[in-house]
């Protein structure tokens, strides 16, 4: 029996590929399968129709057991047109199933994809793959015969016809999908008619040979929903505001792929949370900091270029020792780079990219679901240590969906602000080096802070050399002490007698975990630690690392963490990295190191 299947959907960016993918994920998750996804869409809103540059892709992996990554090459590839086929044919396994929409391979489609008029793509495909041609257009129009809509509008339901076929092929309960579609389309029957036509087509006619019935894995108990990384961050912030019980200002400027967090929070309207679309990236971070000065928690988010613009604001947050959470949804850079693709190349900037001695905690989320917990930790550190915190996510996490068990509110971590009554000096430090947080409005608490160096304790302007030296070190020590809030160091994989340790961070988690599990199964003993805390590092990490002969650092950049660790530890590490804008696949990792 198959335990998992990888499916790739691709078509024109106007074909509703991402919507189709989202529906399948929810149906799969609700029917007890584990699922991971990977989106690949063009940076342009509507790139020229039918062209290779306008192709939008969505990959998902369905499994009977728990999985960690969306898989590498596809078992099934649904190609809506010739351009999609051209772009992704190499992603389909030899002997895999190509489900081709017939109309997408006609003369016009070939011309739009800039292919020769006599190219017979499907004949070529038959030499390598099993090919199932489906007249998606005719079936859709046939199903909508009675609907009074123009052909163009009817054709928009093509993706739902394909949803019907896939629902049947992978044995997902049609009741679940239909309930979903009724909720999404609110009584508009067009899409549901197309869906049913696809399902019936698959069931009654052609598709018997291609069915893959996946078992249900034994699922966790609880209430679930599917979330992507952007939704997880928004929910994590809502939870942080609740745990803090004070106003939260989420202030950001539109930028791909961080904007979805803004959209989510604006839609959700969680208690305590105010959402501001600021006039620019700098206003986003400085207004957030203003909210923190006023006794709330300022939060901002951005992607690469916006992180650069916020650097000065972070410096002020370091100097004023106010809480602030900055979520950086990394994308391919530098500059505008690859705005819809994923990368981990902002790490150096997050760790070091400020003027002056300006250390701050840097955390990284590993999956969409993990982003919820990591945002809560970021908010806790920001408030309890009175410091700005950077949380690194990336385009892959932001856009990939997975089932998520909704946590009980009682089980959420506490967030306890430092003392906030008048009577102490502005920069009086407690045992952990944390200054008080006295919000305007507090009787007798009037005080001034700012970007100028302050005197130890009082915070009054001081240009004294010894004082500056002392304050630089006090700020750094306070950030180092944030590690007290970390919890135990998590070791993902521990093999007997391993002399090799793999270190990775962020969204590489799924692929790396699958890779090390595969190696262990083949007798290559490799231990694996996935870093959530990039600064300060977990206090137990260095003693642990010292036990290994060999350390392999895997990341989606040109070795930024590897370089950083070599500098800190004065020991060599091996760097396994790539910067293609695409996440690692397990297959790829198997070849990249040994």
């Amino acid at each position: 029996m198959e335990r998992n299947v990888v499916v790739l959907l691709a078509g024109d960016s106007g074909d509703g590929i991402q919507l189709l993918g989202g529906q399948i994920v929810r149906a799969a998750a609700q029917s007890g399968r584990d699922v991971r996804t990977l989106s690949d869409f063009p940076a342009e809103i509507r790139a020229p129709q039918g062209t290779v540059s306008g192709v939008s892709g969505f990959q998902f992996r369905l499994a009977a057991d728990s999985i960690h990554d969306p898989g590498a090459r596809a078992d099934c590839f649904v190609a809506f047109n010739a351009a999609a086929y051209t772009k992704y044919a190499s992603q389909l396994k030899p002997g895999g199933l190509l489900l081709a929409a017939s109309e997408g391979f006609d003369a016009r489609s070939l011309a739009l994809a800039k292919l020769p008029a006599d190219a017979d793509l499907l004949a070529e495909a038959r030499a390598q793959f099993r090919v199932l041609e489906v007249p998606v257009k005719d079936l859709t129009l046939g199903a909508l015969n009675e609907v009074s809509l123009g052909q163009r509008d009817k054709m928009r339901a093509r993706n739902m016809l394909v949803l019907g076929i896939l629902t049947w092929m992978y044995g997902m309960p049609t009741e679940v999908v239909e309930t979903e579609l009724h909720a999404v389309f609110r009584g508009d029957e067009t899409n549901i008619l197309a869906y049913k036509a696809g399902f019936n087509f698959a069931e009654t006619l052609e598709v018997q040979d291609y069915r893959v019935a996946l078992d249900r894995h034994d699922p966790e108990r609880g209430t679930f929903k599917t979330i992507n990384g952007s939704q997880a961050v928004a929910l994590g912030l809502a939870a942080a505001a609740h745990q803090l019980g004070r106003p939260m200002l989420y202030s950001s400027y539109p930028i791909t792929p961080a904007s979805d967090i803004l959209h989510e929070l604006a839609k959700l309207q969680p208690e305590h949370v105010t959402v501001l679309q600021a006039e620019d990236e700098i206003a986003a971070v400085t207004s957030a900091l203003g909210a923190s000065f006023a006794g709330g928690l300022g939060v901002t988010a951005s992607s690469g270029p916006g992180l650069s613009l916020k650097a000065e604001g972070l410096g002020l947050a370091v100097m004023t020792e106010l809480p602030l959470v900055l979520i950086d949804v990394q994308r391919g850079g530098p500059s505008t780079g690859l705005p819809t693709k994923t990368e981990q190349s902002d790490l150096s900037q997050a760790l070091h990219g400020r003027h002056g001695e300006a250390p701050l905690p840097v955390l990284a989320a590993r999956t969409a679901a993990d982003a919820f917990d990591t945002v809560l930790l970021a908010a806790k550190i920001a408030v309890e240590c009175m410091t700005p915190v950077i949380l690194l996510s990336d385009a892959y996490i932001a856009g990939s969906a997975q089932p998520w068990r909704i946590p009980e509110i009682d089980a959420l971590p506490s967030i306890t602000p430092p003392r906030g009554t008048a009577g102490e000096e502005a920069y009086a430090r407690d045992a952990q080096g944390v200054r008080p947080w006295v919000a305007p409005g507090t009787p007798g608490g009037a005080h001034r802070i700012g970007g100028l160096e302050g005197e130890e304790g009082s915070g009054r302007i001081s240009y004294d050399p010894a004082n500056h030296q002392a304050m630089v070190r006090e700020r750094a020590a306070k950030v180092d002490a944030a590690a007290r809030l970390y919890g135990p160091l998590e070791i993902v994989q521990c093999c007997p007698e391993a002399d090799t340790l793999v270190l990775a961070w962020g969204s590489t988690y799924g692929a790396v975990r699958s890779d090390v599990e595969r190696r262990a199964a083949q007798g290559q003993n490799v231990d694996y630690i996935h870093l959530r805390h990039l600064h300060p590092l977990h206090p137990d990490l260095k003693p642990m690392v010292d036990r290994y002969r060999r350390v392999v650092v895997i990341e989606m950049n040109e070795g930024q963490l590897a370089h950083h660790l070599q500098g800190l530890w004065a020991r060599p590490v091996e760097s396994v990295c790539k910067t293609t804008g695409q996440p690692f696949t397990t297959e790829e990792l198997a070849e990249l190191w040994n």
Binding site: E271, T274, A283, T286, G290, A294, G313
Partner: protein, 321 residues
């Protein structure tokens, strides 16, 4: 206990150059805080960077000396987190109009409920003497030894154009006038842009003498009063403005043209406020040019109210028993 100006003076040593116009502005500011019954526990003074932006350190209230140009953004966050605070923005011509131009116009268009005190000295003082966005064409500075070629910005037309709901001008050398406008700016519901002519006696001394010096003020400075003719020239005015075919026209008062014929100042008239703001030559207006009512920003931007449980469970969920 009634507070006096002294109660609003902090212990920090004031470090502006001797003779700087900022001293007078600070003095009038603390006096107005006292006279208007400001609560030091709820007063927040926010500034950017520059000579003027040092002011919060010298006021015994809450204060934050932030980043160059960013005070309006910082103040926006403060007001959103706690709309009940009395927030003031202190800025200068370089801070507000050059590096912080974007934040200024957006604070104004949003009608953030904050007075913005723009100390205009037509020069960069703290960086020691470069031309600023309000420096005049031909002005010789350290960075323009052959004279500035940039056309200056007019803070008043900029504010009006950005949708400000309260626009006025005053000067460091007229304490009573300045106190009056400071109090009015604080009372206004919405963003109040008060341009204050401020003499930099080190790098651009005497820039505003024509309007601030007792000997010449009557000839060049027009003090506006709502409902009164727009006239100047001394205790007994000698000249007035007429509104002639959509243009201001300078008229000598005579038997043919009396105060009864003059343009009566109406601060609710935006078009005429533009006309007054555009008096950029020898004759310049002081006082309140324009005031309007519009909902303030924070009121339209309340925090969410949905309980966390509802938020976490929003959207399609399913339960595995």
């Amino acid at each position: 206990m009634e507070l006096t100006a002294k109660n609003f003076q902090s212990a920090e040593e004031v470090r502006w150059c001797p003779g700087c116009g900022d001293y007078s502005i600070l003095k009038q500011f603390t006096e107005v805080l006292a006279s208007t019954g400001a609560d030091p526990d709820r007063t927040v003074v926010v500034s950017g960077i520059g000579c003027s932006s040092r002011l919060p350190y010298y006021v015994d209230s809450y204060g934050i000396h932030s980043l160059h140009g960013r005070a309006p953004a910082v103040a926006t966050g403060i007001k959103l987190a706690n709309p009940d605070l009395d927030v003031w923005i202190i800025t200068g011509d370089g801070d507000a109009l050059s590096i912080g131009g974007n934040h200024l116009i957006h604070a104004l268009r949003r009608n953030l409920n904050v007075p913005i005190l723009l100390f205009n000295n037509e020069i960069y003082g703290l960086t020691k003497g470069q031309f600023s966005p309000t420096s005049r064409e031909g002005q010789v500075t350290k960075s323009t030894p052959r004279g500035s070629v940039d056309h200056p910005l007019n803070p008043l037309t900029l504010a009006l154009g950005a949708g400000a709901t309260w626009v006025a001008r005053s000067m460091d050398r007229s304490p009573a006038h300045l106190r009056d406008l400071l109090a009015q700016s604080q009372a206004h519901q919405g963003s109040a842009l008060l341009e204050i002519y401020q003499n930099c006696n080190v790098f651009h001394d005497g820039a505003f003498e024509a309007w601030t010096d007792k000997a010449t003020q009557a000839l060049h400075a027009v003090f506006l009063e709502a409902g009164k003719p727009i006239a100047w020239g001394g205790t007994e005015p000698t000249h007035a403005l007429a509104w002639n075919a959509g243009q201001p026209e300078v008229r000598a008062l005579s038997r043919d043209f009396s105060l009864a014929d003059a343009w009566i100042h109406d601060p609710s008239d935006r078009l005429k406020a533009f006309a007054l703001a555009e008096l950029e030559g020898e004759l310049r207006p002081f006082g309140l040019l324009y005031a309007a009512k519009r909902p303030v920003f924070a009121a339209g931007q309340p925090a969410g109210t949905r309980p966390l449980r509802e938020v976490l469970h929003s959207g399609r969920t399913w339960t595995v028993e």
